[in-house]
């Protein structure tokens, strides 16, 4: 039909130049959109993390990031990339309440990433929030949609380890009712917590010697004004 009319073959230089210019303009546009959306995206992620931490640790109103360096837990402002980080939760008075521990592991479909609240004094899990999952809609996604299952993590002993049992047969403080029809996903969440607990328990300081709250975060003071 009436395709672009060319008089003979254009020179290679013209082809190279066309692609170079297109690539350059495209690059500039992408940098522009990246730079202009980055603050919003970072703020969204930080807000989501804060909300998740406050959710899994009831009674917490302040948090700080903790990493394990040279045999002890230290407070960091911005953790290094790829460095395992946990969050210390403190109440209004600045007293330590518990840790919020991110953990991840294989689920039924893909990696499940969760955050769970842990009180080292009583050795119990006090809350669990699924941050990322691709579990089957309608079945496996009950690990975060089923209020009963999520509620089961509100007081769960980690000693000797958490066990997922058939729905309705929970009898011990370290047992949780698995979801009917989503046993694999339920067990995956339990396994993720057990593995994270095993990995971290040696690195946490003895109860009562947790890192002190260092600084009140600016977001809190702003909210109080």
């Amino acid at each position: 039909m009436n395709a672009p009319k060319d008089t003979g073959n254009p020179s290679s230089l013209r082809l190279v130049l066309t692609l170079a210019i297109a690539g350059l303009v495209s690059g500039v546009a992408i940098i522009g959109i990246y730079e202009s959306t980055l603050p919003t995206i970072t703020a969204n992620k930080a807000r989501e993390l804060r909300e998740a931490v406050f959710k899994v640790l009831p009674g917490v109103s302040q948090m700080q990031a903790l990493v394990h360096r040279d045999g002890e837990l230290v407070v960091v402002e911005v953790p290094d990339k790829n460095e395992p980080v946990i969050y210390g939760g403190h109440d209004e008075q600045g007293d330590f309440v518990g840790y919020a521990m991110p953990a991840a592991g294989p689920g039924f479909q893909d990696t499940i990433a969760i955050l769970y609240g842990y009180k080292p004094g009583e050795k119990i899990v006090v809350g669990m929030e699924v941050l990322e999952s691709r579990e089957t809609p309608g079945l496996g996604d009950k690990i975060y949609k089923d209020a009963e299952f999520v509620g089961g993590f509100s007081s769960l002993s980690v000693e000797p380890e958490i066990l997922a049992v058939k729905n309705g047969t929970k009898s011990q403080p370290n047992e949780i009712d698995a979801i009917t029809g989503a046993t694999i996903s339920s067990k995956a969440v339990v396994r993720i917590i057990n593995e994270a607990h095993a990995a971290w328990s040696a690195q946490l300081p003895a109860p009562g010697f947790e890192p002190q709250l260092i600084a009140t975060e600016p977001a809190d003071t702003e909210a109080e004004r």
């Binding site: 066309t18 297109a22 992620k45």
Partner: protein, 214 residues
């Protein structure tokens, strides 16, 4: 005359040449992200933005792009718009972005978009190209929405997250799983083909009747 033509280009994408139900293009996002109406709308809007944006640029610069490198140029243009859509969704509606996951970057590979650049935008004036893109993208959006709505209502008892039937509704879970996409699409395609068949039959009858009269 001119106005009629641009209207025509717009409407053909919605019904006669609907990219999904008639041309059967863009099946990958069609089946993958239509498990709820809101995901379908987000995907449709992102595709709309990418398709209209790329058609506008491709048509505007159609005399400057040498035909030997046209496909590469189209892909650069499309990929740029997809990246813009990706970051915008991530910033504005992070929840929806998480649900759509890898399918936003995969808009680049949607054959509907590259197909329109090659078949239409690179050959026609900007105004017609934009009308054509808007029509095709609206047709795609409507198709996604009709699949998403059917699947969400049957599979989840809700529409746009609003519960429709109350507690006693037993969701037909398979509808929001991948097989539900194939089932729903199959039924809709069946309807479209039946409709076309009936229409052709009717036109033949009319023609035969006219011949008999003569």
């Amino acid at each position: 005359m001119k106005k009629n033509q641009s209207q025509e280009e717009f409407i053909k994408g919605i019904w006669r040449d609907n990219p999904v139900f008639v041309q059967v293009l863009g099946m990958c996002p069609m089946l993958a992200v239509t498990n709820s109406a809101i995901n379908a709308v987000a995907m449709g809007m992102a595709t709309f933005f990418v398709l209209v944006g790329s058609s506008f640029l491709v048509s505007t610069f159609r005399h400057l792009i040498p035909k030997q490198v046209r496909i590469s140029c189209f892909i650069i243009i499309i990929a740029t718009f997809v990246t813009i859509a990706d970051y915008t969704l991530l910033a504005l509606v992070p929840k929806v972005h998480t649900e759509l996951g890898a399918f936003i970057p995969l808009i680049v590979a949607n054959c509907l978009i590259l197909g329109r650049q090659e078949a239409f935008a690179s050959r026609y004036p900007t105004k017609l190209a934009v009308m054509d893109a808007m029509g095709m993208a609206s047709g795609f959006l409507l198709a996604l929405l009709s699949l998403g709505a059917v699947r969400e209502i049957l599979g989840d008892g809700a529409l746009f997250g609003v519960n429709l039937f109350g507690e006693n509704f037993e969701p037909w879970i398979i509808m929001i799983l991948p097989p539900g996409g194939f089932l729903t699409l199959g039924v809709i395609l069946l309807f479209f083909n039946w409709f076309k068949f009936k229409k052709d039959e009717f036109l033949e009858d009319v023609a035969a009747a006219q011949r008999n009269e003569n």
